[in-house]
Each structure stands twice: as structure tokens, then as C-alpha cells.
């Protein structure tokens, strides 16, 4: 019946449901016959209900498939379900128990997901942002939400193990170690006496001095207490140390877990150079776009992207055809521009260095001028972070890389600038605290740190980080109100050419993400010295979320250049890891190398912060000590290392096998395609011969 010629002019849908077991590509073979007839006006409609037949044979033998995942209309799904329920499959009781378990587990999982989604913050807002501004901007807000949650959970950690016990045991506990001597080192008076002018409170709030200095905010307030009871003992310095270390480990685990999903996708998609056009055309439409304006914007985006890619292709073809002399000119231009950008960055570093030195020298002055000197390093850092990336962007344009490379190069330079400028600030502080590394000379001879300038140096470092955080936040708000809102008002109400050329603010994702990474790095660097900094940062990021949302919806137009959201999430997390690395280096150095202040803090009389661990170690039971020694010894760590090598080799082998099978399957598809083409030609040839035979038979009869 299926080989009969189609009635000319009929609008019948070729129905393939009766042909069980045929594969879908055989359908397309038959279809290829159809359109070749001149009489057939309408190309045959493909019936999509047939491909499920081949899977139906499996379903009677295996466990019932998830019906939801079959691409059929509801009525057919219901029919299949009824058939499945009527079939009494011959299964053992064990199989049916397994199936019931799987079903209830799935229901539980669905319930759990529903419950969790109730708790996740800001879901509706993020959806709205994604619909109106695209995935790139949404990834910035997702990253911000991740940081808010990370900071809040770390604050709970710190509060639970350090803050609350400190508050509870403040009056109860006894000091761990006492020491006499070095009287000059133990002088520390954070609270100035006498009447304080009222606006000083405000200045103190901004700079962490005065009433804020000797409080739970900073390291100096925590005491060297240890509580021992019959069954219960709590050692605050040990808790402080372990909480700080665990905080870093916890953040590392969270970031890597989040990178895991993104990395899996990046690795699976492989080289993104091939398949870009089909990827854009098939996958770039965002069905969540709401409204005419968002749709038109998205269409303009896609149009722009396609044009840019097509243009890049022709540029590449032209670049491959450059002569040798042109290539030399281009490369020398790139090298010189690189040197220029390095020079700019080094100039910025020197500026920060000089400003920090100057600020330290002038510290102690009161009033507004004093505040200005306190904030001088932060001001210089922020100015550098603002000016240098602008210049780097222009330099990158001169270098004439392809557009995607330009973005990455400019970003990397900005990251380098921001993180290392923070490092320069820390370096200057270190120089002054430890008298330039020579701890037995000059001012540092008595206490091994500069007690004259810094009676409690950890609090001082904590204050610097606190000021950086606060200043970063204030600058963001100030830019919002003083630059973006007026810009929008000017552009909207003043219609001349200059205003239109400047245009509305564009929400630039990479620069804003770098701001977040910088803020988080400051918190990581300062968490050891200012335990409440994660809480302050949580509040800062929450406020930032709302302010950024407001400016996005009121002032910004979407960026014309789209930013790929999943690869960019991975890149954000990699940059965040750099920041974590910097924080870890600072923490490890402070723990092990610098002598803690003798006048304040929980590590008062220890030669280094880490030395409390060996001291408490001796208080543990013999069995525990021996167990811990065993874990640290070679007889445990070498077999563990060998085992992890074996496991890693296994996974590498597995990955290479999967890659090979993907390549093999691709080749197989190509071969089957060629077979198909051969068979089509055969069929056409045979049907042509059949036609001729019929005609000659008809003519002769």
C-alpha cells in the first residue's frame, strides 16, 4: 500500500503508524521519492508519532520508561500508559520492589526540588533580568547571588565557633598563658579618653577606629581564654585559628563544586571554534524573552553576532594572506603595546605604594583631613582601577586582535591590575609592621614587630581591609547616583547629537564581575583580622544586588556584544580562585611568620599564631596523638598518594575512551549517510526502469 503513487493534488498526510519497526531514516528515503513527482503539489507531512515504535518493543521487556520524556501528544501518552498498566509484566518481586522504590524516590526528589526552589533567593528577579537583558547579564547576578550565600554561610560558621563562644565565655574563662616582661609591648589603648566630638563617631564608623576598634569587629578584642569544665573544654585561640583555616577550605570547596558543573559542560562542548554558526542559529534564541522590546533587542543581538562572526571569518581569511613585512609590523605593534600596558600597571603600583607610605606616616591626625589621609590608599587604588582598564581597553583596540581575544586580553590585564594592587598595599603594610623584614633591628627589636607604630598590628590590618570594603561600596553607590542617573536623564531629555552618540549606559558584565571578585578578595584577606567582615560583605552584596538591579532596569541598555554565559561563569570562578589564592597566601604568612601582638588578641603570648596547635596537641590523649602522627607519617601518605594516582589514571583512561567512541560514532554516521545516498540512487534507478517497463508494456498491449 505504501508503494502506490500518491494521488495527485491530494492533501493526505502519509500515515506511517501502521508500519511498525521501520526506522525514521527509511521514512525520509520514501519521502525523497515523493517530491520528485511533478504532480505532487504539497510535500508530504512527516508523521512524528511513528519513531516511538522501535522503543515500544523495549518497553514491554524492560522497566516502564519515563513517559514524560516521550515526544508524543497527551492522548497517545495516556493510551500507552493504559497499555502498560494493563500488561502484567512477568517480573520478580525483587524487580517490582526496585521499581516501586525508584518511583517513590523520584517523587521524593520532585518534592525536595520544589521545597528547595522555595528557598532560593531572587528567582523571579533573575528570570526577569534574563528575559530582558540576556544570559550574560543574568550570569553576573547569579554570580552575585552565589557570593551572598557563600559569605552568609561563612559568617554563620565564624559566629558559631568564634563569636558566640567569645561572648559567652568573656567573663567566665581564664587566660591561657600569662607572661611578664616586655612591658612596653603590652601597651595598647584603643579608647581615647575625654569627651569625643559627636561627628567623630561618624568618622570612626567609616574608618574602624575609636569606639569600633575595641569591639568584636576586630581581632584585638578577642581574648586568650580557655574554658575548662568537667566534660567540656573550649579553647578560643584554637577555635579562632581552625575556623579561619576551615573558612578558606570551605570557600575553596564551594567554588570548585560550582566550577564542576560549568567545567563539565565546557569540556563536553570541546573546541568551540567548530560549529559556531549552527550553534548560534539553533540555540541562541531565548524563549524566556518577554515583550516586544526585549524580542527586538534579542533579534538585533543575534543579527549583530552573526554579522560579526561572518566578518571575523573574512578578516581571518585576509589575515592569513598577510605578507611577511605586514606581519612583522603587526607583531612589533603588539609587543610595544603590551609593554605600554605593563608600564601603566607598574606606574599604578608605584602610586599605591607611595600613597600607603604617606598615609601611614600621617596617621593619627584628626578631623576630615585625617579621614582623607586614612582613605588615601583606597582612593588611589580605586582611581587606578578605574583609569588603567580604560586605557588598557584602548590599547587592546590598537593591537587589532579578533574581538573575542580583545575582551579576554583586556579582562586579564584588569584582573592582574586589581589583585596585584591589593598585594602592593599589603606589601607596604608588611614592610612597616616588620620593619622591612628585619625583625631584630630598629623599632622591631623589642617585640619583633613595630610596636610603636602598631601596638596591635592585626587590628590595623583588619581596619585597612574594612576601609577598602566600605570605600568600594560607597564608590559604587556614588557612581550610580552621580553618573548613571544623570547620564540617563541627559540622554532622555536632551536630544542633540552628542547626547545620542554618548547614549545610555551599557551594563558591562566583565568589569562589574571584576569588582565583585576584588571585593571578595579583600574580605578573604581580612577575614583573619576582622572576623565580622563576611557579615559586612553579605550586607554589602545584598544592597549591591538591589542597587544594580535598579540601575539595570532604569538606566541601562543591553550590551550589543553578547557574552556567552556558561563559559563566562567558568571564567569568573577561575578569577575568583586567583583571589582566594591571594587571601590564602596572606593568611598562611600571617599565621606562621609574623609574631602576634602582645598587647591584644587571642594569640597574645605565642611566638606565632600557628604555635598554639603543637601546644594543644600535647593535651590530647596518647591514642589520639599516635593516630595523628600515623596519618602524617610516610607509611600512610605514600600509599594514599599511590592510590589517588591510580584513581586519576583510571578516570583519564575513561575520558579518552569516551572521546574515541564519540569520534567513532561520528564516522559511523558519515558512512551510513553514504550508504543511504547509494540506496536512494539504486531505488531511483530501479523505479525508473520499472516506469520504462510499464510504458513499453502499455505501448505494446
Amino acid at each position: 500500500m505504501s508503494s502506490e503513487p500518491q494521488r495527485p493534488g491530494s492533501r493526505e498526510v502519509l500515515d506511517y503508524t501502521e508500519e511498525y519497526g521501520y526506522h525514521s531514516d527509511q521514512h525520509s528515503l520514501r519521502l525523497r521519492r515523493g517530491p520528485s513527482r511533478v504532480s505532487n503539489q504539497n510535500p508530504p507531512q512527516f508523521d512524528w508519532s511513528s519513531p516511538h515504535e522501535e522503543e515500544d518493543e523495549e518497553s514491554s521487556s524492560g522497566p516502564p520508561r519515563d513517559l514524560r520524556a516521550t515526544p508524543l501528544p497527551m492522548a497517545l501518552k495516556r493510551a500507552i500508559r493504559q497499555v502498560q498498566q494493563m500488561q502484567v509484566p512477568v517480573v520478580s518481586s525483587r524487580d517490582s520492589w526496585k521499581r516501586k522504590k525508584a518511583k517513590s524516590l523520584r517523587k521524593l526528589k520532585d518534592c525536595g526540588m520544589g521545597f528547595l526552589s522555595f528557598f532560593s533567593l531572587w528567582n523571579k528577579t533573575l528570570q526577569k533580568i534574563g528575559g530582558n537583558f540576556g544570559g550574560g547579564v543574568q550570569s553576573y547576578f547569579l554570580f552575585l547571588r552565589f557570593l551572598v550565600v557563600l559569605n552568609f554561610v561563612s559568617f554563620l560558621l565564624i559566629a558559631g565557633f568564634v563569636l558566640v563562644p567569645s561572648i559567652v565565655f568573656r567573663s567566665v574563662g581564664a587566660a591561657l598563658v600569662n607572661s611578664t616582661g616586655h612591658g612596653a609591648c603590652m601597651v595598647y589603648d584603643p579608647n581615647p579618653e575625654g569627651l569625643v566630638v559627636f561627628y567623630n563617631y561618624f568618622l570612626d564608623l567609616l574608618s574602624g577606629t575609636g569606639f569600633m576598634e575595641y569591639s568584636y569587629l576586630f581581632y584585638g578584642y578577642y581574648n586568650n581564654t580557655m574554658v575548662e569544665d568537667k566534660n567540656f573544654s573550649y579553647n578560643i585561640p584554637l577555635a579562632y585559628l581552625f575556623t579561619a583555616v576551615f573558612y578558606f577550605v570551605f570557600c575553596l570547596i564551594c567554588i570548585i563544586a560550582r566550577m564542576g558543573t560549568a567545567a563539565r559542560v565546557v569540556v563536553a562542548t570541546g573546541s568551540s571554534t567548530v560549529g559556531d554558526y549552527s550553534m548560534i542559529v539553533f540555540t541562541s534564541w531565548d524563549y524566556g524573552c518577554l515583550g516586544d522590546r526585549a524580542t527586538k533587542l534579542k533579534q538585533k543581538n543575534i543579527h549583530y553576532q552573526l554579522q560579526v562572526d561572518l566578518e571575523e571569518e573574512s578578516i581571518k581569511k585576509r589575515a592569513a594572506a598577510l605578507t611577511l613585512s605586514q606581519k612583522i609590523v603587526l607583531y612589533s605593534l603588539r609587543v610595544s603595546m603590551c609593554l605600554v600596558s605593563f608600564g601603566l600597571i607598574i606606574a599604578a603600583f608605584y602610586g599605591i605604594f607611595a600613597a600607603t607610605e604617606f598615609s601611614q606616616v600621617k596617621s593619627g591626625q584628626g578631623g576630615i583631613l585625617g579621614l582623607f589621609f586614612e582613605y588615601l590608599p583606597s582612593i588611589v587604588i580605586t582611581a587606578g582601577n578605574f583609569v588603567v582598564p580604560l586605557l588598557c581597553d584602548q590599547i587592546a583596540l590598537i593591537e587589532r586582535y579578533s574581538p573575542s581575544t580583545t575582551v579576554i586580553v583586556a579582562l586579564l590585564r584588569s584582573v592582574f591590575l586589581r589583585l596585584v594592587s591589593l598585594g602592593v598595599l599589603l606589601f607596604t603594610l608588611w614592610r612597616q609592621i616588620t620593619c622591612e623584614g628585619a625583625e631584630n633591628t630598629g623599632e622591631c627589636k623589642l617585640c619583633q614587630y613595630n610596636h610603636a607604630l602598631y601596638p596591635c598590628w592585626e587590628t590595623r590590618v583588619g581596619q585597612e581591609m574594612y576601609k577598602l570594603t566600605l570605600f568600594d561600596f560607597l564608590i559604587n553607590i556614588a557612581v550610580l547616583f552621580l553618573v548613571e542617573f544623570p547620564r540617563r536623564m541627559v540622554v532622555d531629555n536632551w536630544s542633540n547629537k552628542l547626547a545620542q552618540w554618548v547614549g545610555r549606559q551599557e551594563f558591562v558584565v566583565p568589569a562589574n564581575v571584576l569588582g565583585l571578585v576584588y571585593g571578595q578578595t579583600v574580605v578573604w584577606t581580612g577575614a583573619l583580622f576582622c572576623p565580622l567582615l563576611p557579615l559586612i560583605n553579605t550586607l554589602k552584596f545584598i544592597l549591591l544586588f538591589y542597587f544594580m538591579k535598579i540601575t539595570l532596569f532604569h538606566n541601562c541598555r543591553p550590551a550589543l556584544k553578547t557574552f556567552r554565559s556558561t563559559t563566562s561563569t567558568f571564567f569568573f570562578l577561575v578569577v575568583l580562585l586567583f583571589g582566594l589564592g591571594l587571601g590564602t597566601v596572606v593568611m598562611i604568612y600571617s599565621l606562621s611568620e609574623i609574631r602576634p601582638s602582645m598587647s591584644c588578641g587571642p594569640f597574645r603570648f605565642f611566638p606565632s599564631m600557628w604555635s598554639i596547635v603543637p601546644t594543644s596537641f600535647n593535651n590530647l590523649s596518647i591514642v589520639t596523638q599516635e593516630f595523628l602522627f600515623f596519618i602524617g607519617s610516610q607509611s600512610f601518605s605514600i600509599p594514599l598518594f599511590a592510590l589517588s594516582c591510580v584513581v586519576m589514571c583510571y578516570f583519564v583512561a575513561l575520558a579518552s575512551v569516551y572521546g574515541k567512541s564519540v569520534a567513532l560514532l561520528r564516522a559511523q554516521i558519515k558512512l551510513e549517510g553514504r550508504d543511504k545516498q547509494f540506496l536512494v540512487k539504486q531505488i531511483e534507478m530501479l523505479s525508473g526502469r520499472q516506469q520504462i517497463l510499464k510504458q513499453t508494456a502499455g505501448a505494446s498491449s
Binding site: 525520509s28 519521502l31 512527516f46 514524560r68 563536553a268 534564541w285 526585549a294 558519515k670 545516498q677
Partner: protein, 189 residues
């Protein structure tokens, strides 16, 4: 199957939960939005089919350039006019939901892009697809040379068996390499 009665029966609700990827709240919300599209007389009839024009007044579909294709793909009407019953509507939301699998999303995406419904994406389908993506106005359309170059590039990249068209497995192969597809192929009420 009185699915357009003002209340959904409990057994119908659990059946829909089993046959689609939607949660209970989503099904109830879909029912509410669907009944808002019905006129007073239609509300009492069981299994009414709502015409495409009324479905396209939903804000989630109103400005989507593929709205007509979506209605046609999910419609089970024998007149092929794109009208949807409530169950077709649930099928639509299920395929576009958060928890739908990549296979089902790519299957329906392929059907939506197949403008002439012949089971493969040929040059005509691809050209119509690109025009929908970039907008139909003159300043956003690609020039004919750009279009030709683009279609050649697409076929070169994704047509593995070199038959001049993209079939379902080749399409799914391209989709599987895209990390953003699942999150962008989403319509949530």
C-alpha cells in the same frame, strides 16, 4: 475528560503530573491561565480547543517569533489550524519546562524549526529560521550573500552525511554541544 471544568479533578492532576514534567503548582497555574482564555460558554464544554489567535495573546508567546510554529507543532487538531486543547497546552509547557530533558527539548526545537514539516531542515527552512531570528524588518535582515554564506557554513558544520539537509540526529548532535540550550529553551508562566 472534563479538563476545562472550573476545577481540576485530583486524579486528573496526578495523571498530568505523571505524564508531564510540570509540578502540581505549575499545572494549576496553567489551568488558571488557560481558563482565562475561554469564553463563558466554552468554559462548560469539555475539552475545548482554543484557536491560535487567542493562544497568541498570552504574554509569554505574544512576541515570540516562533509563536505560530509552536502552536502548530503542539496542536493535535485535525485541521492543522494550530488550535490547542488544555492537554496540548500542558504538553507545550512540559516541553518548555525547567525539568524537561535535553532530548525532548531538542526534538521539539527541531519540529519548530522544520517550517515545511518534512522531517528535515533544508535550505528553505534554514533561511526562514534565520529570518525569524534576526527579525523581518529590512534593517535587521541579512543580505542575500551573507545569508548564502551563513547557510553554507551551517550545512558544512552540521550536515554530517552530506545530503544537503539537517536531520534530527545531526540537529541533536549540534544541540548536545551547546551548554546554554536547556536554559534558554524555557517558557515559564
Amino acid at each position: 475528560m472534563g479538563t476545562t471544568a472550573s476545577q481540576l479533578g485530583k486524579d486528573m492532576l496526578s495523571e498530568y503530573q505523571e505524564l508531564t514534567f510540570l509540578t502540581k503548582q505549575e499545572i494549576l497555574l496553567a489551568h488558571k491561565r488557560f481558563t482565562e482564555l475561554l469564553t463563558k460558554d466554552e468554559k462548560d464544554l469539555p475539552n475545548t480547543r482554543v484557536q491560535m489567535e487567542r493562544i497568541l495573546t498570552l504574554p509569554e508567546l505574544k512576541s515570540n517569533p516562533f509563536r505560530k510554529r509552536i502552536c502548530n507543532v503542539f496542536s493535535t487538531s485535525e485541521y492543522k489550524d494550530g488550535g490547542l486543547t488544555f492537554e496540548d497546552f500542558l504538553d507545550l509547557l512540559s516541553a518548555f519546562s525547567d525539568s524537561a530533558t535535553l532530548e525532548i527539548k531538542s526534538h521539539y526545537a527541531f519540529r519548530i524549526f522544520d517550517f515545511d514539516d518534512d522531517g528535515t531542515l533544508d535550505c528553505g527552512d534554514l533561511e526562514k529560521l534565520v529570518n525569524c531570528l534576526t527579525g523581518e524588518t529590512d534593517d535587521t535582515r541579512l543580505t542575500p550573500e551573507e545569508m548564502r554564506q551563513l547557510i553554507n557554513n551551517i550545512l558544512e558544520e552540521s550536515d554530517i552525511d552530506k545530503d544537503g539537509t539537517v536531520n534530527l540526529s545531526e540537529f541533536q548532535h549540534v544541540i548536545s554541544r551547546s551548554p546554554d540550550f536547556v536554559s534558554s529553551f524555557k517558557i515559564v508562566l
